[in-house]
Amino acid sequence: MSNVAVAAPRKTRGPWAVAFAKLARDRAAMASLAVFLLIVLACLSAPLYAKWAGVDPFASTLDAVIQIDGADVPVMEQSTEGLGLGYTPLGPTWRLGNYFLGADSQGRDVMARMLYGGLSSLLISGAATIFTLILGTAAGLIAGYFGGITDTVLSRFLDVLWAFPIYLLAISLSIVTIAHGITIGPIEIESGSLWLPVIIIGIVYVPYVARPIRGQVLSLRNSEFVLAAINLGVPGPRILWRDILPNVTTTLIVFVPLMMALNMLTESALSFLSIGVQPPAASWGTIIQDGQALLYTRPLVALVPGLAIAVSVMALNVFGDGLRDALDPRSKVRLGRD
């Protein structure tokens, strides 16, 4: 009989569980996620808010009159002093549902537009992120795995796209498509559609995703398990799908918040320049543009969407950093029991 006791095998957690645990312990990342989710929830409530407040955030209401403390107050107030020049929109009332943030130069409720604007900004940046990730991943996988002429052609194309200053490229594409939309075969996207900025932003950032993915695939292509699969005669697409894609997933996950933050900034910039979301629809960029003409009298119209963009982008970036640390096996984030 042996006196040597055999230790029971220690139960270890899977890599995803470890990553989640790491992420959950990253207070900054979790706080950022909470802030971002709060913003998303607020924006999703836009139609409800507009209905509750009884306002149409897209129609000019220059002659509207609202009630504050029982008194009728015009939404656009004419200057009565001196020559009586110009009209000033109503300032913030700080009453939810009653021009909380005041009115813009069209007499529209800025709060309702902020929520709708956020919805547009989030939708566009989210959809553009998915678009970029799909295209970028596909390009990176194909170029890295098949190599040769495929890699050369795809890489050079990405180099050309990469060589253009991003905003210049986005502005050029927007100007070309903004008036007439895009028609590719049976697919037709109308000029005012939100899909236009989605596609434009999605395209310009493809190299940002494709190049690092290609680099990873080039390295994975020579790993033993891939070589084994090739030698066993497994078809290329299956290897890409079953063996290589799962190994780049963590990179793609890290890309999501970072690309979304980048896309949100790009969308706002394009909308500010009138080549993103088209009026009367709102995005945070268009509201800043509307507010630009009111900086002197109603600075909040431009400041609030600016602040919303800054907070959202910061939240996404901090969360993205936390996510990267959590998914990186070499991360130095300490987990209590591990």
Partner: protein
């Protein structure tokens, strides 16, 4: 009493060649100093034969001269034509087809060269050689212009501009009588430049001038310095008066907000650009004495494409005209002090203007209120309800606001409307080109010269419509043969009887308005904000504020 009358007559006679006593006295007291102007950007090329901007034309007034000029006087007097480089208004002969001018003697360019008839003929040729923007319209009636337009490089205008060096005369022959020729000759596109001026766009290079001032430095990114022409001796106070400041310094690059602050702080005297809307209230109450509001002969309007659905239907166009609340638009522009509602084409106080407004709650002379019920009924009757309409506007705060408001109006009467703001640099040409299939747009028209044809004939004649061209100023694509014939008749009548012609133009104005090829929005006013030190502000209806007739000391 008789002596006084004689003295007054003598002074009046001398006014053409010598300084009026009042001006002479003021000149002594206020002459000198630097007047400082601001603009967001330069007005493009310095070449007066090419530049076609308000900003450029205003600045050229104390610098360049033509054979005739618009009188440098306040208000409507500024629409009067007076002899400038010519000794007198021309002798007209050959049934109104020949105009003979006698050139003044002793005038020198700022470069020191003497002005001669050769400079005049070379300048007329140059209008075509540089493909001036109005060479094919304003000056196309000169004999030989057709050849010059076909082959610009070898333009001679043979038989069109004939000179007699010994007699110092210039004879201009035109193919058919033109009542507006003198107006056209008084525009900066017809100023006289030295004969050796290269026949190419001079861009940023100043060209010697005959006026009281000359351009001494120019950098399109920084500014322009205009100083006294050392060779200038006043020959006509009403055509080219001497100015007060020694230097006009025009700086470019500051935003409108910064320009207002600079003027408030006394660092600048005037700004070209419109005042930012969020400063109007403050300036209107605190700086009233520094503001000058002046009427403009201009028209903000919304051309409706008469060749594209839904506005190829007259009822659909009239529906839009009924539905638009001009008071709201006036409000967007800054209020009643800065604009007035309008229904018709010709602006108030303009030749041929007779108050007329059919598209209002109570049709008559003036607009009173929108008639939405009528508008909705017309949309129903036209069978265009539910159709999609895109409004193309300039990417400026005011145009965007108007576009958004119009989108709301169109939606309210049954259309599916959206707005597209596009860069101000391209919007005006974009909406002219039929290839872009623009259904509705918002734009402005400022008169070139005070004639009804400058609005009606240019904006709505069949000849002004060019399929697929960026220069199809008849943006609506309106073409009515009967109205066209009437416009031609009015043009011809103007040669012999201007009053009768203006009556006919009023009729044309009503007919065009009734067909609603475009919807009149409002007539704007010019708001000038000047420094506290600037005195003697005078506004000329043709070229706006007369810069060098103000003093700063």
């Amino acid at each position: 009493m008789k002596k006084l009358l004689l003295a007054a007559s003598a002074a009046a006679l001398l006014a053409g060649t010598w300084l009026a006593p009042a001006q002479a006295e003021y000149l002594k007291e206020h002459r000198g100093g630097t007047i400082r102007l601001l603009a967001r950007s330069a007005a493009g090329t310095l070449d007066p034969h090419i530049n076609y901007t308000d900003q450029g034309w205003q600045m050229y007034q104390p610098i360049y001269d033509g054979l005739v000029a618009f009188r440098k006087a306040e208000g409507m007097d500024g629409f009067t034509i007076v002899p400038d480089l010519a000794e007198a208004l021309p002798q007209v002969s050959n049934d109104g087809k020949t105009f003979t001018f006698k050139l003044r003697k002793g005038i020198k360019f700022s470069s020191g060269q003497d002005l001669g008839v050769k400079d005049v003929v070379a300048s007329f040729q140059r209008i075509f050689k540089v493909s001036g923007p109005t060479s094919g319209t304003f000056y196309a009636g000169i004999v030989g212009a057709d050849k010059c337009l076909a082959d610009t490089k070898s333009c001679t205008l043979e038989g069109g501009v004939v000179t007699d060096e010994a007699a110092g005369t210039i004879t201009i022959n035109i193919t058919k009588p033109d009542a507006e020729l003198l107006y056209k000759l008084a525009l900066p596109h017809a100023v006289v430049l030295p004969a050796d001026t290269p026949a190419e766009d001079m861009g940023s290079k100043p060209i010697p001038s005959t006026g009281a001032y000359m351009i001494s430095a120019f950098d399109p990114n920084k500014g322009m310095t205009v100083s006294r022409n050392p060779n200038f001796k006043q020959w006509s106070e009403e055509a080219q008066p001497d100015g007060y400041p020694d230097v006009v310094q025009y700086d470019f690059g500051l935003s409108e907000e910064a320009a207002v602050t600079a003027i408030q702080n006394g660092e600048a005297d005037w700004m070209f650009d419109a005042l930012p809307s969020d400063r109007l209230g403050e300036l209107g109450s605190k700086s009233m004495d520094q503001l000058h509001i002046s009427p403009l002969s201009a028209w903000w309007y919304a051309p409706l494409n008469n060749r594209l659905a839904p506005f190829d239907n007259e009822k659909a166009r009239q529906a839009v005209a009924y539905a638009i609340d001009r008071n709201t638009l006036v409000k967007l522009f800054g209020g009643k002090v800065l604009a007035s509602p309008v229904c018709q084409v010709l602006p108030p106080d303009f030749p041929g203007h007779e108050d007329y407004c059919p598209f209002t709650k109570d049709p008559g002379a003036k607009w009173s209120a929108p008639d939405l019920d009528k508008a909705k009924q017309l949309v129903e009757d036209s069978g265009t309800k539910g159709q999609k309409v895109t409004i193309i506007v300039e990417d400026t705060a005011i145009s965007r606001s108007i576009g958004v408001y119009l989108q709301t109006v169109l939606t309210s009467i049954g259309y599916v409307a959206d707005v597209k703001p596009i860069s101000s640099n391209i919007q005006f040409t974009y909406i002219q080109n039929t290839n872009n299939k623009v259904q509705m747009s918002v734009t402005q028209w400022y008169k070139d010269y005070p004639a009804a044809s400058d609005f009606l004939n240019i904006l709505f004649s069949c000849a002004s419509f060019r399929e697929g061209s960026d220069a199809s100023i008849n943006i609506a694509g309106f073409c009515d043969k009967e109205i066209d014939a009437k416009m031609q008749k009015a043009l011809d009548l103007g040669v012999t009887d201007q009053a009768a012609a203006d009556k006919l133009w009023a009729e044309v104005d009503r007919q065009v308005t009734d067909k609603a090829p475009a919807v009149g929005l409002f007539t704007p006013k010019r708001l000038d904000f000047v420094s506290k030190r600037l005195g003697n502000f005078k506004f000329n209806r043709q070229f706006n504020w007369m810069i060098t007739q103000s003093w700063v000391q």
